[in-house]
């Protein structure tokens, strides 16, 4: 490979591990970070040879198309062999747009990417809800991949003076106009590095109860995550979603509050050290991968935990 790009929307853990993966894959040749963020961040893993800085806020949906057009234009002129995206809301929207614009192949939600023969990436992704693992190769270039957060290790050291080239915003006219930002959730801590995670599912029954779980997690200083069901019901943001279409986590302790354990969820958390399931259904799929099962209403247990923590003054 002559050149690999990692597209980042910040300089957080997921972005750094993606950049480190790109460095590893390009094995000494050129590796660039395409940073889509209002401000430039110059600290990246050793081996990143440069930054293309696109000064746009990746949180804003109207910017998806603008960023996709700019990344496609950059890729047409610099011809990278592969472009890696994190499988966050931005990456999931922009990567397929870029792939279609460049008439090239794309693989979603990869959990493994490595170099194969003839310089073609070997991409593995779970499919059919994690029941199967497909191995995929791409015949065209650039090979475009979205990578599930949390599957690659965080780099140990960063160098702080990676040279950035600011990309001039092209045609900023958009046919999508932002009317209102309804900020739902505080920015979430990156779940991938958490030692202990409390995760909530539909069994919590309401967004208020999820927020109680989040408050409890905050209080004891641990992470909070959610099942796809809880995200779909509007209890929690995408950033909190654990599983096939969210983040992969491997905490030391994972406590599932009212999560039945669809295979999609299990594929993102079954590698945890100890798994404790709180569920009224003793035969829910999650119990098959759990070390402890508390057969109780998770809201009741949440309340008891809140009381216990208060009385202990922690």
């Amino acid at each position: 490979m002559k050149e690999i790009w990692a597209v980042a929307v910040d300089a957080g853990d997921a972005a750094q591990s993606l950049a480190a993966k790109a460095v590893e894959l390009c094995a000494g040749s050129s590796c660039r970070v395409v940073l889509v963020h209002p401000c430039v961040e110059n600290s990246w893993p050793q081996g990143v040879t440069g930054i293309y800085h696109i000064p746009l806020d990746a949180e804003l949906i109207p910017n998806y198309e603008k960023a996709a057009k700019m990344i496609s234009a950059l890729a047409r002129s610099h011809r990278p062999n592969a472009i890696l995206f994190s499988a966050n809301a931005f990456g999931r929207a922009v990567a397929p747009w870029v792939a279609a614009a460049m008439k090239t192949g794309i693989t979603a939600d990869c959990t493994e990417v490595r170099m194969g023969e003839e310089g073609r990436l070997i991409q593995k992704r779970p499919t059919f809800g994690g029941r199967r693992i497909a191995t995929i190769q791409t015949k065209t270039e650039p090979c475009i991949v979205t990578v599930r957060s949390g599957v690659f290790p965080k780099p140990q050291t960063l160098v702080c003076d990676v040279r950035a080239e600011k990309i001039r915003l092209g045609d900023t006219e958009s046919s999508v106009q932002l009317l209102e930002r309804i900020i739902n959730f505080e920015p979430f801590r990156s779940l991938a590095e958490e030692d202990v995670i409390l995760a909530g599912g539909l069994g919590l029954g309401s967004r208020e109860n999820f927020q109680r779980l989040a408050a409890l997690a905050e209080r004891i200083g641990v992470g909070v995550g959610a099942s796809r069901g809880a995200v779909a019901a509007g209890y929690a943001p995408y950033a909190a979603q654990i599983g096939q279409t969210g983040v992969t986590v491997r905490p030391r302790i994972y406590v599932a509050f009212g999560i039945s354990g669809q295979v999609q969820h299990l594929s993102g958390m079954s590698g945890a050290g100890s798994i404790i399931a709180i569920n009224t259904d003793p035969n829910a799929p999650i119990t098959k991968v759990s070390d402890y099962v508390l057969k109780e209403d998770c809201v009741k247990i949440l309340q008891l935990l809140e009381q216990q923590m208060s009385s202990q003054g922690s």
Binding site: F90, P96, A100, T107, R131, A134, T135, V176, I276, M309
Partner: protein, 262 residues
Amino acid sequence: MEITVLVKMVAKVSYDVVWDEKSQDRLSGDQKVINPADANALEAALRIRDAAGGSVTVVSMGPPAAESILRECLARGADRAVHLCDTCLAGADTLATARALSAAVQKNGMPQLILCGRRAIDSETGHIGAQMAAMLGVPCIPNAIEITFSEGLGLTVSALSEHETQRLRVDRPVVVTVCNFINHPHQPTISGMRAAKKKLFCRTTAEELGLPPEVCGGNGSPTVVRAVEQGAFPQRRARYLAGDEESIQFLCDLLTGKGRTP
């Protein structure tokens, strides 16, 4: 407003599907249904049509069996159906699928609004909306949780980003992918099923859409599936705890680092 809804036929319980080595097909021996989020997209389309006028066309690419889900869409209230059915389309990856669907969608003039589910429950890529938007040269709004249309304001969409819900005004034409909690789809009624028999059902081929064989199906797909293996989760034997004080204390100690990891 002219609205096109893309629907995919999927196996009812996607993770019970058996990968068929011989046909390299994912749909062997299971009940076929409309991909759940696509049913939500159809429901959203029907509500906009009923409020603002126009018509709803459903389009599906798939084997002959996919006719049944298109018929069901007609029974639910869609006005016409287009079935893109051609053996040369088999084995298409998302790029080749989006290319074929884009050709089908544009065949009788560009619709104002193209809707589909945010992802299919079988392959779970979520690519098609954005790929078609790029090919058709229109914007794509992913993860919609509300779509409204009024003469004054036009089309407004509330959609989820990573941390937010954003309300957007969009010019048409546009592709919108919907979350499955945007609405509760109505089931077909008896009168709906009766009416469906008289509605236009059009079956079309790649050739009729002007798609040469080299851009269709496996030939037109830049990604190749090299292997499919069994995925497995480490099974554990759970200890069952009672919901008593002792268990709560155990949990508390564990979470605050006082207890030992089991």
